[in-house]
Amino acid sequence: MTARDLIPIAVLTILAALLPLVVTSSPVLNFLVFMLIVALGAQGWNILGGFGGQFSFGHAAFFGTGAYVTAILQLRYGVNAWAGLVLATGAGAVVGWSIGYLSFRSGLRGSYFALVTLAFAEVFRILANAASFTGGAAGLLIKLDVSPANLQFADRAVFYWLVLALVAAVLLLTRWIQRSRFGAQLVAVRENEDAAKALGVDSLAVKLRAIALSGAVTALSGCLYAQYFLYIDANIAYGSWISVELLLAPIIGGVGTVFGPVVGALTLHGLGEVAKQFAGRIPGIDLIVFGGVLVLAVAFARGGILGLLERLRDRGRGMVARGTKEVSHAGR
């Protein structure tokens, strides 16, 4: 990675870190924290779905695992919240690798892979909803005990900075993946798995690494969710809506790009808030906007918002290039 790779990430992170100094209203901070948690989970989806081309419709399986592992470790075994964070992330990697091993070994791809991930998430949801170990349908309540050692902060801004730092770390990770040999192999598998294999890429190993990383990052976001709201149940943590949300953000923002998931999460939730402001009490209005934006993005902006911007920039450059050509013609 070069300075050119690092500077945009650093600048954006610093700008975002200054926000809580300007905005102090807690609903806005809540919104920002939630949006960043979604962005983080979506970054996890993007590693597998964006760079690897394996569209998962069940990333809730990882999100929920992160949330439940940290909650159960703290409640039942008295483990420290920070250790819980690390273990939850590890658990996400293990679950990711296992689901990946089962499905990729069987050669599932495309729609079949989407369906099998959806089914895994559903199995986890039903189990978590039924077992008493996971609190059953009542869910789990993490004890309120505000102290930095417990990963609970009196000031919302501190949690915001924590999530922001992790989002920035994953931005760096994604940029590294993009520049690394592993990333190149992953993209090769996405574009044409058979061709990649023929060139000696161990496609199974590459996909397994991707899904383990992806599971870890998304589990981390689930863990942060549990830690911020201090309550989870099966329908929140393993619900199909979280799976949808984690895939919407990268697709709207720009699938397989470093900033796509963050841009997408910001756009979606921003639009959702605007729609709520305008439409008032109509339930589900923000989700109607989400669905509509998804259809429009697929129809008209296949690279998402970032893809659209790039195309506009290229068109701008094209015009400049054409302009100079005309000038040189005139000169002749």
Binding site: G284, I285, A299
Partner: protein, 290 residues
């Protein structure tokens, strides 16, 4: 211990629930077999049909079974329009895109229903909702017996349409070889839309059969769509008899799991079968080798 009679009754009830699953899966598998797409909006479209039945009952006082007659052409038209004017043009013929477009559609449909009807659960009651039919020592729910009969008839009708009519011939041609069908003058986008419409028409029948004993709310479709995916994968994507048998089988599994494991775990059997089939034999029991 469970007496054999309870187990048999549970199995038969499951068989009859399975008939409705089969109808929902028929639409899904038909669409998959021809368009080669997984229609994520199937559940939301079922919810639309169920609300259609409920509205006709609540506002016009129509019998839910009679509503099926006008609802079938309406759902056909809705499906035709969606495929022709939204899904087809928006997805540029790419698999992943179709998945996403139908997902987007399902989110929109579900939440439009939510905006219109709020999240309340609605039921309708008829004289026969709780009637039973005695079959020897067994007591069977009357609406479910009807459901089983209609599901078998509809499967037969669909088979006839596909195998004995010109439209059916065109549909099969497009399913086999899109380009060749186009070359001999078949209007492929039209056939796609007709197929999608037929898949939705199956949902109208399923909705009419479900409503006397079930309830509707804007999120109900999700519960059915995963089961329908399971049925389709189990029966083999694109296979009509596979969908019918798969549906019946899944109904029995769900009912027996519910009996032995309790209601909250009842559906887990379905998903474990789903995962197992996907991992071991993704072409399903009746599907052609991919």
């Amino acid at each position: 211990m469970y007496s054999p009679q309870i187990i048999l009754e549970a199995a038969l009830n499951g068989l009859m629930t399975g008939a409705v699953y089969a109808l929902i899966a028929l639409g899904l598998t038909l669409i998959y077999g021809v368009l080669h797409i997984i229609n994520f909006a199937h559940g939301a479209l079922l919810t639309c049909a169920m609300f259609g039945v409920w509205i006709a009952w609540a506002w016009l006082g129509m019998d839910p079974y009679l509503v099926i007659l006008p609802l079938v052409p309406l759902m056909f038209a809705l499906g035709y329009g969606l495929q022709r004017f939204v899904i087809g043009p928006a997805s540029h013929g790419d698999d992943g895109n179709i998945l996403l477009v139908t997902l987007g559609l399902s989110i929109v449909l579900e939440n439009v229903l939510l905006a219109l009807f709020q999240s309340d659960t609605r039921t309708l009651d008829t004289d026969y909702s709780f009637q039973v039919v005695a079959l020897g020592p067994l007591l069977l729910s009357y609406p479910r017996v009807i459901g089983l009969g209609v599901a078998v008839v509809v499967t037969g009708l669909l088979w006839l349409v596909l195998n004995r009519t010109d439209t059916g011939k065109a549909i099969r041609a497009v399913a086999k070889e899109k380009l060749g069908a186009n070359l001999v003058g078949i209007d492929v986008p039209h056939v796609y839309a007709v197929t999608f419409g037929m898949g939705c028409a199956c949902l109208a029948v399923a909705a009419g059969l479900l409503m006397p004993t079930f309830y509707v709310n804007p999120r109900i479709g999700g519960a059915f769509v995963l089961v329908a995916f399971t049925v389709v994968v189990l029966g083999g994507m694109g296979s009509l008899p596979g969908a019918l048998l798969g549906g019946l089988f899944i109904g029995v599994v769900e009912s027996l799991c519910g009996l032995f494991l309790g209601d909250s775990l009842g559906q887990i059997g379905i998903f474990l079968i789903f995962i197992a089939v996907l991992l071991v034999r993704p072409t399903g029991l009746f599907g052609a080798k991919a």
